[in-house]
Subunit: 345 residues, 2 copies
Amino acid sequence: MAEIKKTPKSNTIIQVAEATGLSPATISRVLNNHPYVKEATKKKVLEMIEKLGYQRNNIASGLRSNKTRTIGLIVPRISMFFHAEVITTIQNILYKHGYNLTICQSGDSVDMEKDLIRALQSVRVDAVIAACTLHTTDFSPFDQLMASGTPLVFYDRVPVGKTSAMVIKGDDIQGGYLATSHLIEIGCRRIAHISGPLDCNLYQDRLKGFYNAMKIADLQVRKEWLFYHELTKENARIALKQIFEGPEIPDGLVADNDTTAIAALKFAKEMGLKVPQDLKIVGYSNDPRSEIITPSITTIEQYPDKMGEKIVEVLMARLQHKNMNPMEISTPTIMPVQLIRRLST
Amino acid sequence: MAEIKKTPKSNTIIQVAEATGLSPATISRVLNNHPYVKEATKKKVLEMIEKLGYQRNNIASGLRSNKTRTIGLIVPRISMFFHAEVITTIQNILYKHGYNLTICQSGDSVDMEKDLIRALQSVRVDAVIAACTLHTTDFSPFDQLMASGTPLVFYDRVPVGKTSAMVIKGDDIQGGYLATSHLIEIGCRRIAHISGPLDCNLYQDRLKGFYNAMKIADLQVRKEWLFYHELTKENARIALKQIFEGPEIPDGLVADNDTTAIAALKFAKEMGLKVPQDLKIVGYSNDPRSEIITPSITTIEQYPDKMGEKIVEVLMARLQHKNMNPMEISTPTIMPVQLIRRLST
DNA sequence: TTGTAAGCGTTATCAA
DNA sequence: TTGATAACGCTTACAA
């Protein structure tokens, strides 16, 4: 009683072979539904597998075949709404293709990211999907991964400049443009912009879109109303304080994420400013919070599910025909975005 | 030019052995920091590993040693705030212990959950951590996993009744009690309760807490104000409509998650009811949305990070001394919860 | 302290 | 259509 059982030896292909009177090779063929197996044999094997409760050892299979049917994913944090959605979509589609997904979080740390790349490499994932940290400027760990023959697709936060990896990104220039020109259209003339670190393509592009819109409207960009720190609640408050301590105050704010937009809303309330009357605010990402807050926040929708679908599509194409034209894969795919107008404007 | 390179043969322990003039066994010992290796030898090997850019093949290692240093995790969905937090904590601590985490989402589907268990088993994870689906009543796939020798820890959504797995759960009875008695204390007498499917321990327990508090206050529980459907926005509206179409309306609502509480807030606004004056609402989980909505929602904090820590602690203990007393591991660990009072009450 | 050699459970290459 | 056999890259007795 209450004895600790020894781990029962999990059964193998050989046991199935013996039980059916076939060879291990045939069992393996059935398992991989190889074409040259007689229907009757296949049926017999499948039944025996069921009966014995046999479970293929993917470790052994992976070692021999050099295919693990596992994809690694590196993401800053799964708690970010956009990423959670993308991941879920990826995982669901990948599952249909018979692939597993190993999800890793870098926590926006470059060192962690590097470690994770090594770890994934070391478990021999068949491919890697990555959204970089805010501060990744050295892509050599990723290059090394590719050099070892692992297909790599970047999404959302992608390398600035050339890369031989596949790239799927949102249209952040357009997003920045849409947000800004919307404010201009509804009457804003003094527009502030809280952006993120310019190491990151996201903020470079959104800023570019901002400049484009301002230029077209012939509006002046005030450097003292431009910020490039990590987009946290805390940093948002610091930036807002600085803006509103100045001699003049803005009538519009482009926030490059919804966390910042939400912080701005709160700040405005504390300052006694009415939104949208005194200050109009646009966020980015369509985080669920942006919809339920009062007033609800106008924001940029990025269609995470569409992005997830595209990522898998591109990846599967690559995994299936290894010898794809490298010119083709080096052109980034740009996914459309859209402005969702709400009560903050 | 534009030639596709053949995958370079990733290097092996044997190449490191040859390069250093040592045997593969010694290289392996260095890799596993085995005690019996001369310091000088170790240093030499490490340098060569660095020089060759050698990367241990964990697939091969796992096959031989029967240890993958990978833990599998099954969760309904990573987009749920509570789970995202727990997972992040688990992953960070596990990482320090040298373990990888494979995160899988069941999407609250029992079939998917079953498949995932098989998949994890098939990649030979060293252990599994799981929060069940809303509808898991048949735990035999989990039992089978354990029977194959894989340690298993359930958290949050755990089996009702006996299990030989380790169990870490929140104090949902207390949570339900706190929410309800808080409403009573501040004057509510007609309290409705939107709970979840009673297959799930969470809602069984929260309901129990609700009954306890009502009984102590000698208040009547009205069956027509009790709901047990999955806690979605849509179901919340259906329940609320039903409640408010009745002859009498409640002055307090216990919602068993924050999504429901938020939906109730919106519903009340549409009905022209003031919160908290006309209706007081308590949610569950302290989702970030509950804080930013107007009015902010009183809710039950579950301390996901503490739960994550506990999970890893228990798991590591188990992984280290395999022969732990089975009586000990079968007592569930119950984690404290707390009421966070906000403006909705 | 280090080396030799036998597997771990599959799959791939022949041959039958 | 099936079977024998040699890997895959590592760990681990056992020997030295």
